[in-house]
């Protein structure tokens, strides 16, 4: 091994995936000869999957040499129980500081894996469990593949900001054709990193046979014997003259642009270029191009930010920063939801599905309460129709949901969340009323997006039970939950809230009760700069498109259309009142709300979106327009300012929590690292705050 393929300085020590070789006698399977079976096993259980770093690749290389030296009829690779291999050891990737290192690790992977195709002995991958990225690529280099019926496979590289650069981007299009290659490499990766079920992998042509796990290895060996004897023939198609190349690549490009709000993001585009090359190139040419693409991506900040974001999401999903011990939380066996509108009903459904305990909803009259309950029950029916829930399970849950106009039904509740109109006095009154109905330990949670939780708890007998529990719309989909503590909120209340959040499978941050918490505070500030620019006279299209190249999933006005100008204006007004005049009230927004105009974009007859003339007519036209670049800078400046203020105020304790919020609550892309790594690398942090949010190397290239 050359020095350049050793681990970069500072990287955690590689957990080596050993490659163990044993002979399997094929005669009981009807073929005279032996199969050299390589087992990939890092010595840990399935919670620490096999991965490939330089030493693991060297181990596999040695195993292939060993296997070939046994003069077998075939060589096969399989994994440890439940796991084939989960891909490259990403932990070292963040520490690569030289392009040569990156090129070398790419080449080392290729040089090792490609032997499986070039060794002159039939090779098989028996994919017995999870196979992702480089883990699947090992298998792709083999001549034939079997897959366990319960194993998930996928190429998540593009999701992470990489390309399938250990052969995947070249072999997959040659193996399954352009359309399916684009679906697997681009479509699945960008669709929340969708993995293939065994049935999908078989239908897509990624594997040649699927066997149940009970005797997967034995049947795979039998399959190998059958291929060797010629009894089973596997046909491979030449896709070079497939008519779908151009359309598939165009579809992939469109999907990539859509995902990032029109921005040209490097990893999907590079992956598409590699797929396009695979039409006519040799494998070797493809692998060389992959090495270069990998090095380009690895030696750029977006990937570093992406890896930082990925690790952050993984880590924080399990551990909530600043959470009290879970054991301090109280048992929750009955839940109340105040309100039966759409938000409240969504909350009731989410709580019902995950806590599986009685959920009572109330509203000002029985009719409204019934409507909320009916909505929940209808959603359960839809889940059954979509086969995402059994009729029995839905029946069980339907019996647990009830609604009333009488808040006495909250008696006996352990946790009540309110989702009534965003008006402080109403919420204060509500909590006072609820205190007379429920026991002293019942948690009173509010889903307010911008009001003061502290003030809602004022005057209560037990203010320590009040907590902010802020979801994002749609609540079943958006993974973030902001848990806001007031100065009174006690640990038992926080722990109960966090325990519930875990049951709801949410990623949580615990923040100080401050107006807008984290996501809305930043988004509103950001949005305010765009509307300000428009109010000052900037062309709305110019303002709205100023940040297209960054790769946000939607433009500010697209987001506004989703949230609704009414809600946005209300939040802006609240934050203006509580945080000061830097949160401005836009006359254009006021006009839109007044006139009931919901969005800047309307759907044209052909399905495309165009400017809404009604909205444009309402624009307050100032005389100091900005250029797009000026808008971009002022919006990013506002974000940096506000983020720094939030850290100074102790709203959250670390920049990472802000990034987590923007990733999970606003859906901002991983290549921005959330947002702060992007502000750092654009130099905004230093020019605005005089300092970076993250030290160099954390979410960027080391310096």
């Amino acid at each position: 091994m050359t020095t350049s393929t050793q681990l970069p300085e500072g990287a955690p020590e590689e957990i080596v995936t050993n490659a163990l070789v044993r002979d399997v006698d094929l005669s009981p399977f009807g073929y005279k000869g032996t199969l050299a079976l390589i087992t990939l096993d890092n010595g840990f259980d399935h919670t620490r999957p096999n991965t490939f770093g330089p030493r693991s690749l060297a181990a596999l290389d040695a195993a292939i040499t060993d296997a070939a030296s046994r003069k077998p009829a075939a060589i096969a690779i399989t994994g440890k129980p439940f796991i084939f291999a989960a891909g490259a050891d990403l932990s070292a990737l963040s520490f690569l500081s030289k392009r040569e290192q990156s090129l070398a690790i790419g080449k080392l992977g290729h040089d090792t894996f490609r032997r499986l195709d070039e060794i002159g002995i039939p090779t098989f991958a028996f994919i017995n469990g999870l196979a992702l990225g480089g883990g699947l690529e090992v298998g792709l280099h083999c001549n034939y593949r079997t897959l366990s019926a319960t194993a998930l496979t996928g190429l998540p590289e593009v999701f992470l900001g990489l390309v399938p650069g250990w052969g995947g981007a070249t072999i997959v299009p040659k193996l399954v054709g352009p359309e399916r290659a684009v679906q697997i490499i681009i479509g699945n990766a960008l669709n929340n990193n969708t993995m293939m079920k065994a049935k999908d992998a078989l239908n897509l042509g990624i594997v040649d046979a699927v066997f149940v796990p009970a005797d997967f290895l034995e049947r795979s060996v039998a399959f190998a014997a059958s291929v060797l004897s010629g009894a089973t023939k596997i046909e491979r198609k030449d896709y070079s003259s497939d008519p779908a190349w151009d359309s598939a690549l165009a579809a992939g490009r469109a999907a990539a642009l859509k995902k990032y709000g029109g921005a040209e993001i490097a990893s999907p585009l590079k992956a598409l270029a590699l797929i396009a090359d695979a039409r006519t190139n040799t494998r070797g040419q493809g692998f060389d191009a992959e090495d270069i693409a990998l090095a380009d991506l690895t030696m750029a900040d977006p990937l570093r930010a992406s890896l930082y974001a990925f690790n952050l999401i993984q880590k924080k999903r399990k551990k909530v920063e600043g959470a009290p011990k879970p054991a301090l939380g109280r048992k929750v066996a009955r839940v109340g939801v105040v309100g039966a509108g759409l938000m409240a009903s969504q909350l009731a459904l989410l709580l019902l599905r995950n806590l599986k305990c009685p959920v009572v909803m109330t509203d000002i009259d029985q009719e409204r309460a019934d409507k909320g309950v009916a909505w929940v029950k209808n959603e359960l029916t839809k889940l059954v129709e979509k086969k995402r829930m059994s009729a029995e399970a839905a029946g069980r849950l339907a019996l647990l949901i009830s609604g009333s106009s009488d808040q006495q039904v909250f008696a006996g509740c352990d946790f009540i969340i309110e989702a009534i109109f965003e008006e402080l006095s109403l919420k204060q009154e509500l909590f006072k009323k609820l205190e007379k109905i429920v026991g002293p330990e019942c948690v009173l949670a509010t889903n307010t997006s911008s009001l003061s939780v502290e003030r809602m708890s004022e005057g209560l007998e037990h203010p320590e039970r009040v907590v902010g529990f802020h979801f994002f719309n749609p609540v079943a989909v958006m993974p973030l939950l902001e848990v806001a503590r007031t100065s009174h909120t006690d640990d038992a209340t926080t722990a109960t809230a966090v325990n519930i959040g875990k049951e709801l499978k949410k990623t949580m941050i615990i923040c100080k009760d401050a107006p807008g918490f984290v996501v809305n505070r930043l988004l509103t500030r950001f949005m305010g700069e765009i509307t300000d620019a428009v109010d000052e006279g900037t062309d709305p299209a110019t303002a709205d498109n100023a940040m297209r190249s960054i790769g946000f999933p939607m433009s500010p006005f697209e987001l506004l259309g989703l949230v609704g100008p009414g809600v946005a204006l209300h939040v802006a007004e609240t934050l203006n009142a509580n945080l000061g005049p830097r949160y401005r009230i836009s006359p254009t927004m006021q006009a839109m709300v007044k006139e009931g105009v919901k969005t800047f974009y309307i759907k044209n007859d052909d399905g495309s979106f165009g400017p809404n003339p009604v909205a444009l007519a309402l624009v307050h036209k100032g005389s100091t327009p900005s250029t797009a670049e000026e808008v971009r800078i002022r919006a990013l400046t506002a974000l940096a300012q506000e983020a720094r203020m939030m850290l100074d105020e102790g709203v959250v304790s670390s920049p990472a929590e802000i990034d987590l919020c923007m990733l999970m609550g606003a859906g901002w892309p991983m290549h921005l690292g959330g947002i702060l790594p992007y502000l750092d690398r654009e130099g905004i942090s230093e020019s605005v705050c005089g300092q970076r949010f993250h030290a160099p190397g954390i979410a960027s290239l080391p310096q």
């Binding site: 163990l20 070789v21 044993r22 399997v24 006698d25 005669s27 009981p28 399977f29 079976l37 390589i38 087992t39 096993d41 010595g43 399989t78 440890k80 129980p81 149940v212 009970a214 005797d215 290895l217 034995e218 060996v221």
Partner: protein
């Protein structure tokens, strides 16, 4: 309710290769071995719709851990049989699979079921003999049994005591012959054909596929056997060489009413004539096959001379010799264990009964002149069990 007894047949039987305890299956669960045997059996019999299996009886001598949770039902689920197929567990120590067979046969004969699986598993690496055993103190306090009764090797020594003419030399010669016959059977490919290749993982070595028994020692010699220790007593006669070993393995047999087998066009490898179990003093448990065979022959209206093929489990050489001696059969009679026995291939306790059956079925195929055969074995705590089978390939002529 049916009022007549129906004919019960052995459709097929298979087993995993047997491992030495703590060796090739050290990283493999007992229930996974059992699953492998069941799936291998069904693979070989594609005409049998798994959903039509009426019951699954699985034996294990220790029914905890990976042999617990009602291994019969658990292995059925793990093997991927339809959830509608029931299963239960059986225990008669070494005669577990034999008893699973007779219990299933009884249910078939009386018409309660038509087709079923009987089998057994023992992972003696995971479940050492005597694991979690808690003998009632009354056994010794009231002298119900002597201490020797609870150690199988000691009961074998007691057989030597009772039959002094069954010397250590005869036991060693018998053991050597078992190894020689097994070695020859392997050369002739006669054992491999009923083995189901079984994946076995060793965390340090990786995955392997077990395709042959691990225990046989084809290089055994009389001199080598003579030099072995006698671990059960000083100056004893029972050694590791003239006993079966500690092993891991699983077996499975498909049984059906003869009518059902014919209806489905299944193979018929043996037809059950009758069976019997009998008790003896626990201190000489190895003698058990003598009274159980006498009882079974009586029921069948047969004489020992009518039996043309014997599969006798070789827990200990002396115990086989006691059986042969009683019936006046020579130590090296070719009708007895023609493929060798447990001394060579091993004895994963509760699984062994079906191994005897699959060997007997092969003898029946080869020797169409043989009309009747028996499978018999001794059982700890003083019992023997015998099943008499009829050869469906019998063509008349000499017995």
């Amino acid at each position: 309710m049916s009022s007549h007894v129906r004919s019960v047949v052995l459709v097929d039987a298979v087993r995993t290769p047997f491992g030495k305890a703590g060796s090739m299956y050290a990283g493999t669960r007992a229930d996974d071995l059992m699953v492998r045997a069941i799936r291998g059996l069904l693979d070989r019999n594609p005409k049998v719709d798994p959903a039509s299996i009426d019951d699954v009886a699985i034996a294990a001598a220790t029914q905890t851990g990976d042999q617990g949770m009602n291994i019969g039902r658990s292995a059925t689920l793990l093997a991927g049989l339809p959830k509608t197929v029931p299963g239960y567990s059986i225990d008669r120590w070494c005669a577990g699979a034999l008893t699973a067979t007779t219990t299933i046969a009884g249910a078939i004969a009386m018409g309660a079921i038509d087709i079923a699986i009987a089998g057994g598993v023992e992972h003696m690496g995971n479940h050492p003999m005597g694991e979690l055993m808690d003998p009632n103190p009354r056994y010794l306090a009231e002298k119900l049994v002597e201490q020797d009764a609870l150690a199988m090797g000691a009961t074998a020594e007691r057989l030597h005591d009772r039959f002094p003419h069954l010397t250590k030399e005869r036991a060693d010669a018998y053991a050597l012959n078992s190894q020689v016959k097994t070695a020859q059977a392997y050369v002739d490919g006669k054992i491999q054909r009923d083995l189901i290749p079984t994946a076995a993982r060793n965390p340090e070595l990786g995955w392997a596929i077990a395709t042959i028994d691990e225990a046989p020692r084809p290089t055994t010699t009389m001199e080598g056997l003579a030099g072995l220790k006698t671990p059960f007593r000083p100056a004893g006669r029972v050694t590791a060489g003239n006993s079966s070993g500690l092993n891991d393995g699983a077996t499975a047999a498909l049984l059906a009413s003869e009518d059902k087998a014919k209806e489905l066009g299944l193979t018929i490898k043996a037809r059950m004539v009758t069976f019997a179990f009998a008790g003896v003093e626990p201190e000489v448990m190895g003698y058990g096959p003598v009274p159980s065979t006498i009882k079974a022959l009586e029921k069948a209206g047969l004489k020992i001379e009518d039996i043309g093929a014997f599969e006798v489990n070789e827990a200990f050489a002396v115990q086989v010799l006691a059986f042969l001696d009683h019936f006046g059969i020579a130590d090296d009679d070719p009708r007895v264990n023609p493929y060798g026995g447990a001394i060579a291939v091993g004895h994963p306790l509760a699984s062994s009964g079906v191994r005897l059956m699959l060997n007997l079925a092969r003898t029946f195929e080869e020797k169409t002149a043989v009309r009747y055969g028996i499978t018999t074995m001794c059982i700890g705590l003083g019992m023997g069990g015998t099943i008499i089978w009829e050869n469906p390939h019998f063509t008349g002529g000499q017995k």
